[in-house]
Symmetry: C2
Subunit: 161 residues, 2 copies
DNA sequence: AAAAGTAATGTTATGATATAACAATTCTTT
DNA sequence: AAAGAATTGTTATATCATAACATTACTTTT
């Protein structure tokens, strides 16, 4: 059964997957990048849910649908490609990966992750960026990247308690 | 040779270590916690530098100074104790641990980490917290914890380029 | 002070995540 | 068609972390 997500339940989560794949395809076409069947399939698997997915979960899915078992480098290389071109993000504190909600422009992601349903919501260009830039500036620190992962309870899960 | 850190070079880094151990001792005395020799030694090792340190680095140090080799659970249990009581923090994106600069009051840490010298600077109660609280509130999200790790170049390292 | 109970540590094994190195294949260009 | 480059397959291993149970040490009760 397909898990339902409050924010995509109207159009159906399949729409999220289709959109992500289409955008990725267009982007790769434009930038002369090769969105191979493997890379596309891994991206699709990552998008199967809005919950961060582990590399070995992806591996297991690939193995189950191929005749032969896949090996870790197969998955990690595809993930590296997708990360490098901003199509997915890595959630460091979960050792997991999730589709990028805003692949159009390069950015550092920020997530609100529910500890119950594991839904990971990506915040677009929020005030958090500005606060970080400000703190870094005060310290004379040049920002190159960041890991922002906020854990807690999402609104729907709180309502259920 | 002892690595020098710009912000503690005046008093000497040994002062950082001594302070951290003293504060930990006082806190454990007050709260009836047992800062055993092992836990104290692990805390001291974590404080050997201002760079996040891996569990297996700590393990290697312990092994080299004991007659017998130490096993991973020995270190991880000590780290768990120190984490639980706010004496150290974990840097998720580096799988590493660092002494807490503000163990007096419970808090969620935020770090500026230099990719060259690996110095990890902990920011105390910054505007970043407020921005996160604000964004979370807008999303109806209740914050329970957070991982904030900013990477880039610290001021001294930029000056050297 | 001895016994019982609890907390901490030792020990062995294994789970979970990730990468190195090289071979084979496929795609692209010449 | 051949050469070169990129991708994927394959084997092995590195790295990070915990489960499960035995032993030791500390604390409380009697």
């Amino acid at each position: 059964m397909q898990k339902k997500y409050s924010f995509c339940v109207a159009s159906g989560h399949q729409q999220c997957i289709d959109d992500a794949l289409n955008i990725a395809q267009v982007m790769c076409d434009e930038e002369q990048l090769r969105l191979t069947p493997l890379r596309k399939r891994v991206l699709e698997l990552v998008w199967q849910s809005h919950q961060p997915m582990g590399a070995y979960d992806i591996l297991a899915q690939l193995t189950s649908e191929e005749g032969r078992p896949a090996a870790p480098p197969t998955v990690y290389r595809a993930l590296d490609f997708l990360l490098e071109h901003g199509l997915i993000h890595r959630i460091a504190s979960l050792n997991a990966f999730i589709g990028c909600a805003y692949p159009q422009q390069p950015h550092q992601a920020q997530f609100l992750i529910c500890r119950l349903c594991r839904f990971a919501r990506e915040l677009p260009h929020s005030a958090i960026d500005a606060a970080i830039a400000d703190e870094a500036h005060k310290a004379g620190f040049t920002v190159e990247g960041q890991v922002i992962e906020v854990f807690g309870l999402c609104a729907p899960c709180q309502a259920e308690l």
